[in-house]
Symmetry: C2
Amino acid sequence: MSPADAEQFQIGELAKACGVTVRALHHYDDLGLLVPSERTYAGYRLYGAEDVRRLYRIVVLRGLGLSLAEISELLDGAGIELGDLLSRQLGALERQLSETRRLRDRLGAISDALARSDEPSLQSLIETMEALKVVERYYTPEQHEQLARRREQLGSDAIKDAERAWEELFAQLRVEMNAGTDPADPRLDGIRTRSAELVRAFTGGDASIGRSLGRVWSTEDPAKLSRGTVDSPLHAYFSKVCAVGAS
Amino acid sequence: MSPADAEQFQIGELAKACGVTVRALHHYDDLGLLVPSERTYAGYRLYGAEDVRRLYRIVVLRGLGLSLAEISELLDGAGIELGDLLSRQLGALERQLSETRRLRDRLGAISDALARSDEPSLQSLIETMEALKVVERYYTPEQHEQLARRREQLGSDAIKDAERAWEELFAQLRVEMNAGTDPADPRLDGIRTRSAELVRAFTGGDASIGRSLGRVWSTEDPAKLSRGTVDSPLHAYFSKVCAVGAS
DNA sequence: TTGCTCCTCACGTCACGTGAGGTGGC
DNA sequence: TTGCTCCTCACGTCACGTGAGGTGGC
């Protein structure tokens, strides 16, 4: 066994050792990103110790989400600034995160709405999307970010609980309204407190979000916003009930 | 103007109205996803009212992150379950989110470390990554999720502030150690309080994360973990100082 | 001769972007 | 004839996956 034997790897051995596929190594060779330092007479690629070190770096950088082109530049060209590259990459990830969160939140809202509706159809999905878009217009991008963080914190179960709580609250309120209860009646204090709590849980205590929320409900059709649970009279009654608590 | 004129669009008009490119419409035509109901003698595509409705749905569903194949199935085949599709999609987004967050956190940690080091090189990046991997082994996947949420909440500025605070704290501590101050001396109470605060800010009050953190520092080399700021004697001194507070 | 590892094409992925080269209606 | 809108190929993207068809060493 010559020292050369001990330090060289065939492509399959190297691939297994570094957790990449043989095809990936072929690809890196094609790109000139990792060209084996030697070949056997039959054309077998032989990777030396230096090649292994280079592959290790490639794997690490790829794991950070860099493209092969960026990795090439980092490893070969001295031109590129490491710090710049990383902060650009970080910015891109940050943007991607908020995009994905937004998508997730939308999809979550739609899923929930469809699960509650009697017959989940494409048509009702489209309608839900439209209602959602209307609501989204009332919040600034910063408020959207805030709300997304808030939902993250609460988790989807707590959000579903809150929605059920709202439904229950409005069901009770409808009974009172139909019974002709005075909105100022102290027996509604419990409902006042709970609705204030639920609003707080949603806004996270942010006053500007609270105001936006108020604008949505006072401007748009409550029946559409609540997908049927709250009609105009009930919402008007609810407003009066809350106004008592606020004064 | 016949009614047909009023209800038909050329490809460019439709594209502009719906916010898609002409090329995308060509692509949908090729796939059979949206085939214009008519063509002029010269081969111009003419889209009718039904086509417009279909395109609207395509755009909405694409906006939810569905693939064109999935959209095809939803629009044509009655086979696919809408609810299933959405929850699968939601799951995929959730996984993608935690993957991206993890990447972002790693990259953030590396960026910070490099910014603090004297000469940010590829070599130091690799070393930092290795240190990071070592630390990551001490936390369970759930704890990683927790920590990610915690960092999200704090924001990157607060995290950098905390790191600076730690550096300052250890700088002070080194002075005391060199001066031979007894670890139990009450003049170290301020440091005890602040370090407890900083740990709490990191763990978010989670005891299991606190324990994992303790295991990291008592097992691994403090100099490597802190990238030089805390050597073994200083860490031993720090442990004694904290032990006083705990008793 | 049989296995095993390796080799080089070369197409496919996903949703289009981007020309190239050409035609119909005002 | 000049613009404008449209048409149909067809290659490129990114990092490989997945065969197809074939060769060298034990």
